[in-house]
Symmetry: D2
Subunit: 223 residues, 4 copies
């Protein structure tokens, strides 16, 4: 009788282990129009999915939750529904371009202190639910490499705020701004505004999507 | 035996009725620097409290929850802690000046559609908790009466959005913008920018605090 | 001999009078994209020219000198070349929309005091050369009639500054802003942003061009 | 007789040479509030004058023509009166901070193409009058060294436009922006916003005035 009991337990263990191995890690990419485009053909999330399928790499379920025009507080407004209710294992927050950009285009950007306040609130709620958090710096609004894009000052500042948050709360960091600058320093000798990694100074062209996909993959793998 | 039972019940009913009469209605004023100043000596909330004490009118517990520089989404970020957790009977939302003003002063105002989205989210949560909601239009950024204050266009627009929300969700409405304009049309023949109801085009002078106190009282009494 | 002399003088007088009657009054319309479009088919200047040709009315030579995106200081930069050197009899200054509009679209509007300074400099130079000056108020950025177009405050203010300049320096005034508002109050019951007198909140549709043509004509005839 | 004639001529030559040596070179510093402060005690122009007096160096007559809040087009408006009519030998144009800064503070900055247009018009007029032109880049709006001051992008861009103008028209160049950055990289390890060369991110403290004085001297001496 005791043997059967042990055997049952052992089998149960095997089954559960198997289930655990099978279980995909659910990753939500939470962001703006760049992430919204990320799930379309050629988008950075689509590229990641195709790579997983081809290489049979780590088993992620990648979910895009990007909405055009979103700023950090827009994420917060739909945070419960679009993130917490979906019970993800990992959340990649990729926000900040519009918080800076809309200062010029609409006079409706986000103050630095409020950017940090909303961002912090989301990190804390995610970590309180045991969800791994990865944060990204906003890549570019203009690809000129001599810091003469008109909003480079703010992008540098908000990026540093995000790096500081990552350090403070122990989040993963995908430093897109740094990577985009390095790529442009190597590949944009003409100091062009767009066309290297973006189509229009902000949104990703195929090269940009591939670069982001690679960096996101690295970010997900780094624990 | 049965009579005693009836008598006890009757007494209990009296006591409970009495308690209910005694119970103060808790009112939270949820807003920005104008509301923050409202609880100080001479502020509109202080004036209301003094009037209640003197006249022995309706028994309200008036709570100021104003923070300088707040916009609609800042209210939303501290909504649970500063409002819902306090279990008020009534919430007076008085926001919008900074959502417009900061467009010019900091390029960090609030887009109209997002203003409505955050405002709606708060109204719905309050009403779902059975809390009465009173909304206020933002009074002035400049007191000139010929609509030549540089942000009159937006103030008129955002005020109309708030009036529409009040109508749509059956909220009380304290139309400060309308009242301030009427007061200025009657009392600002020189078309001055400030000094009639405000000290600095935005913040209330004693006359302004008294006007807001009177209008808020009327708003609270109108059910 | 003396008779012949007198006769000659008399004939000469007749000829010169005739020449004077024949001489066209040269009118330069000095402005922005609205005036640039004014010389195209259906534009307000073209409509005026067609009316003159048809009615045989007062003999004006109408010259369009509008450049897209121009603000008051852009007019000043090209003032000598595009106006003074052409020796006009009348100059119609129609500027101000971009001075206000670009505040929001590019953060490059014009401060009120500087608007007045450049405007005054041009009026003085024109009057010093004996040129008649007619000034126009900027019509609309958005056609809503309840002053809820976001830049109505500034448009009302800058228009008043122009009316004050006209009064101070004895210039003719074509009050387009007033006329457009009156037309919209009568013809825009739905409080639409555009489509009544403009195609896009700013630039004139056929009805708008006709209204401006009529008002300009009246302005030219009023001495 | 002929000897006397020769002697007279020779003496005349000596006198004229002497007069020429005596003649001071008139230098006008044409700019904004920074230049306006430059003529006050401790200001950069005052420091230059004191140095000349002490060292007995090159004999310049230094004239400050700075007005607070001026942008490039404000210089142009008062160009004839404040510069050309004074018949200077050298004009130092030091403008651009407000053209960038006022984008954020007042939404009334200057578009890049118009900045170049007004700047070019002044250079051409000066050179047509045989006046030597020295141009300066705008130093800083914020002294952080990692290009995270919010308007660094525009300052870098407008500075480059000025460098390009100097090259194109053969003007002297005092590259304050470059010099300020280098100084801060060496002396601002804490990445502070102000207090190194400025009092308030823009206006010069004593160290800043001394640095500008030294650079201006070098610029004047380099022909």
């Amino acid at each position: 009788m005791r043997d059967i009991y042990c055997l049952t337990l052992f089998l149960l263990f095997l089954v559960m282990s198997g289930m655990q191995v099978q279980k995909k890690e659910k990753v939500i990419f939470f962001g703006d129009s760049i992430t919204n485009a990320g799930v379309k053909p050629g988008g950075y999330i689509t590229l990641m999915q195709e790579k997983i399928k081809k290489d049979g790499g780590p088993d992620y379920e990648l979910i895009g939750a990007g909405i055009g025009g979103n700023k950090v507080y827009d994420l917060y407004l739909r945070f419960q529904e679009d993130v917490l209710d979906k019970k993800p294992d990992v959340v990649v927050i990729y926000i900040g371009v519009n918080d800076v950009w809309h200062k010029q285009s609409n006079q409706t950007g986000t103050d630095p202190d409020k950017f940090v306040a909303f961002y912090t609130a989301m990190i804390k709620k995610l970590q309180a639910s045991g969800i791994r958090v990865i944060v990204c710096t906003p890549a570019v609004i203009g690809e000129r490499t001599d810091f003469s894009n008109s909003q480079d000052g703010d992008l540098n500042r908000y990026s540093q705020m995000i790096r500081d948050l990552a350090a403070k709360y122990g989040c993963g960091l995908v430093d897109l701004r740094k990577a985009f600058l390095e790529y442009n320093l190597a590949n944009n000798p003409g100091n062009k505004e767009s066309g290297i990694l973006t189509t229009d100074r902000v949104h990703l062209n195929p090269t940009g999507n591939q670069l982001v996909a690679d960096l996101m993959f690295k970010g997900l793998s780094t624990k």
